[in-house]
């Protein structure tokens, strides 16, 4: 099985480790992974604030990179980016039948990593360990957009040694919202602070999620508040204790 990895623009430029950990997970389950040479972004950042022309440009470039033969699936370590492509490209290209065809073709092959592991590879459990107390933030587009609720938490619960502690505001938005956080910083901060308090109340060492964007946002406030809770992407946790295939 061959997978083309969509690292997402954020992971690509801000936290490459998440990309490698995604590869590690996929390779562990016998998947052959390839990464495109060209950079790409799903275009959500522009789409969500109304700049559909720019969004279209990015989306078209994304399709050029990923709508290529030779791969069974496209996998990304982000619920939000997958949601953008799966749900919003059809809105964006509703007047372009040719592009829509490409969107439909690619939609059926595109998965978020945990979704891919559970739905396509039918993985029930990650045979790995992780030491520490972990709490989980359900990213909005992953939870309500893609409808993935249970699976990531099941993975976390079943990790050896991991201590999973749910937070009370698990399903409440962290206040990122893309450019929302730049447009309305005071509001965004107050939303994130509420989230941070909910995280703090779990006494967890780590907060994890399917999306780096949320984690950057939450982590930014945790750091500013001087809290030592570490934001880590879910693949970092799941891959941590796996034997490296290359070794």
């Amino acid at each position: 099985m061959r997978v083309l990895l969509f690292p997402t623009c954020l992971v690509d430029h801000i936290k490459p480790k998440i990309g490698f950990d995604t590869v590690k997970l996929l390779e562990h389950f016998g998947v052959e992974v390839e990464v495109p040479e060209k950079p790409s972004c799903c275009g959500q950042i522009a789409f969500n604030v109304g700049y559909w022309k720019d969004a279209k440009e990015m989306a078209r470039a994304w399709l050029d990179v990923y709508d290529v033969p030779g791969f069974d699936y496209i996998v990304a370590p982000s619920g939000s980016c997958v949601h953008m492509i799966r749900e919003n490209y059809e809105i964006l290209f509703k007047d372009e039948p040719k592009t829509l065809e490409r969107v439909h073709r690619i939609k059926s092959k595109l998965y978020e990593i945990v979704e891919f592991l559970t739905k396509v590879l039918k993985v029930k459990e990650i045979p790995s360990t992780f030491s520490g107390k972990v709490t989980y933030h359900a990213s909005c587009h992953y939870l309500r957009g893609l409808g993935v609720k249970r699976e990531p938490k099941e993975f976390l619960k079943n990790l050896k040694n991991a201590d999973f502690i749910p937070m009370d505001l698990e399903e409440t938005c962290c206040g990122f919202g893309g450019l929302f956080s730049i447009k309305f910083p005071d509001l965004s901060y107050n939303m994130t602070k509420r989230k941070a308090e909910s995280i703090k109340n779990t006494h967890a060492d780590f907060v994890t999620s399917s999306d780096l964007s949320c984690l950057m946002n939450i982590g930014g406030v945790l750091s500013r508040l001087g809290l030592k809770i570490k934001p880590v992407h879910i693949v970092e946790i799941l891959a941590e204790g796996l034997e490296d295939e290359k070794d």
Binding site: H13, I18, G19, K38, G50, F180, N190, G220
Partner: protein, 461 residues
């Protein structure tokens, strides 16, 4: 109406911890009650589907159902008035009152009445109108606007209300809700009997029987619509449902979604009028037809005004309804405000959401609010071109993401110069628009190389 400065309003409210706390407490309370109540309604999801289907049926043949309603309502003896906009509605109501020499009116809670700003207009024409819903009564004597479509006074604490009753109504100071309520009860009791007219809104207009429905908890709507010899109901034309047989479905979803109650205390279904008890219905269009003809906005006409989306919205939970600067607040309120008061007034509002989708998830008639907000954002940017710095930012990102050479150069440069903004290995004071981020939040520095570059190196090693 002037442009609504959502962010400015929101910041002002954020600086008032009492309001933030009061709103948060009230919204979380309603959500928790909703959760408990829905657990007792096993077919709640099917009921939502059925309600949605009934509202879709209305949109399919809107004019047909409206005609049917008017015809049947007239058969019931109701006098039907139609107002194209708020001004017309006010004139119609004034006319009805003048003809009957109305000097004093009592009214139950109606957002549509707030929408047409009837109170100051009547006041200017020498007609005193009392709000009788406790929350609305409090708002009225405080000279404020409702901060929630179903719980208008949630932003006020009992201390503030106590002070208000003491100063404005001469009540002996007490913070006991029981005592305050009793005082309002006695104060308004007299008014019901003295009033020349009673007013209400309507939650549902039933096409096949020409009836209309008002739900409430306090009994003030019953009083207002029963004791005075004249009842004037003011309602938007979108409140239609096809048949009285559809009513159970709506009654079963409305209260749980709204206050979290299983049912409201009183459901009043009006189907009768007489010489001694006239009933007039003022049907208000005010932008609704524009919504109907708009392929994206029309879905918002299904709204049953439960306020659930406000309760669950993480932004509303922080700042409450006043930030939205309109009678219609919260996520669905953004759409209504845009539709009724126009894109110039409401151009900032569609952005007042993280598109987290909690509103869509909770909406009893499954209105895809984030989808509509996205479309409104597109329209605003198309009309205004967008803010310069934001436009530049989006444009730059688009270039970086679609031009590999620029991409490499750009991020390389960024990783080189970021040192001057660093403190303790975190970026803490970025320039330009990014300062909006670092004002409140730290950020990790850029790594020197992208994942793709590192991947390539690993493959080649």
């Amino acid at each position: 109406m002037k442009k609504i400065n959502f962010y400015e309003n929101a910041r002002k409210i954020l600086s008032n911890p009492t309001v933030v706390e009061a709103v948060q407490k009230a919204t979380m309370h309603a959500l928790e009650k909703r959760r408990q109540t829905i657990a007792r309604i096993p077919d709640f999801e099917e009921l939502r589907d059925k309600a949605r289907t009934a509202k879709e049926e209305i949109l399919r043949d809107f004019d047909g159902y409206l005609e049917k309603f008017k015809e049947n309502a007239r058969k019931n003896g109701f006098v039907i008035h139609e107002a194209g906009d708020a001004r017309e509605a006010r004139e119609i109501i004034l006319q009805i009152f003048k003809e009957r020499n109305v000097k004093l009116a009592v009214s139950s809670k109606s957002m549509t009445q707030e929408e047409i700003e009837i109170n100051p207009f009547l006041e200017a024409h020498g007609i005193k109108k009392y709000e009788t819903d406790l929350g609305e009564f409090i708002i009225q004597i405080a000279h404020q606007k409702p901060s929630h479509i179903t719980a208008p006074a949630i932003h006020l604490t009992r201390r503030e209300i106590a002070r208000l009753f003491n100063e404005k109504l001469g009540m002996e100071y007490t913070e006991e809700p029981e005592e305050l309520t009793k005082f309002a009860r006695n104060y308004l009791r007299k008014k019901y009997f003295e009033a020349d007219a009673g007013m209400s809104g309507a939650n549902f207009l039933i096409a096949d029987t020409g009836s209309f429905v008002v739900v409430e908890n306090e009994g003030n709507a019953r009083m207002s619509t029963t004791l005075p010899p004249l009842h004037v109901a003011v309602t938007g034309i979108e409140k239609l449902i096809p048949s009285i047989k559809d009513l159970p479905v709506f009654l079963k979803i409305l209260a749980p979604s709204s206050t979290g109650q299983h049912q409201t205390v009183y459901t009043n279904i009006f189907s009768q009028a007489s010489k001694d008890h006239e009933v007039h219905i003022v049907l208000i269009e005010n932008g609704r037809r524009r919504m109907l003809n708009d392929p994206v906005l029309r879905e918002a006409l299904m709204c049953i005004r439960c306020g659930g989306c406000s309760n669950v919205c993480p932004i509303f939970q922080l700042v409450g309804g006043h930030a939205y600067g309109s009678v219609y607040s919260g996520p669905i309120g953004i759409i209504w405000t845009y539709a009724i008061f126009g894109p110039d007034v409401a151009k900032e509002l569609p952005f007042a959401s993280t598109l987290c989708g909690a509103c869509y998830e909770i909406c009893p008639v499954r209105i895809n609010i984030p989808r509509i907000l996205l479309e409104l954002r597109r329209r605003v940017i198309e009309r205004t071109g967008g803010k310069l710095e934001e436009k530049a930012l989006v444009g730059l990102w688009s270039q970086l993401m679609t031009k590999p050479v620029l991409n490499k150069l750009g991020f390389h440069l960024a990783s080189k110069i970021q040192g001057i903004f660093k403190k303790d290995d975190k970026l803490t004071h970025l320039p330009f628009v990014f300062s909006n981020w670092t004002k409140w939040k730290d950020i990790e520095p850029f790594p020197g190389k992208s994942f793709r570059e590192l991947w390539k190196e690993r493959k080649n090693s």
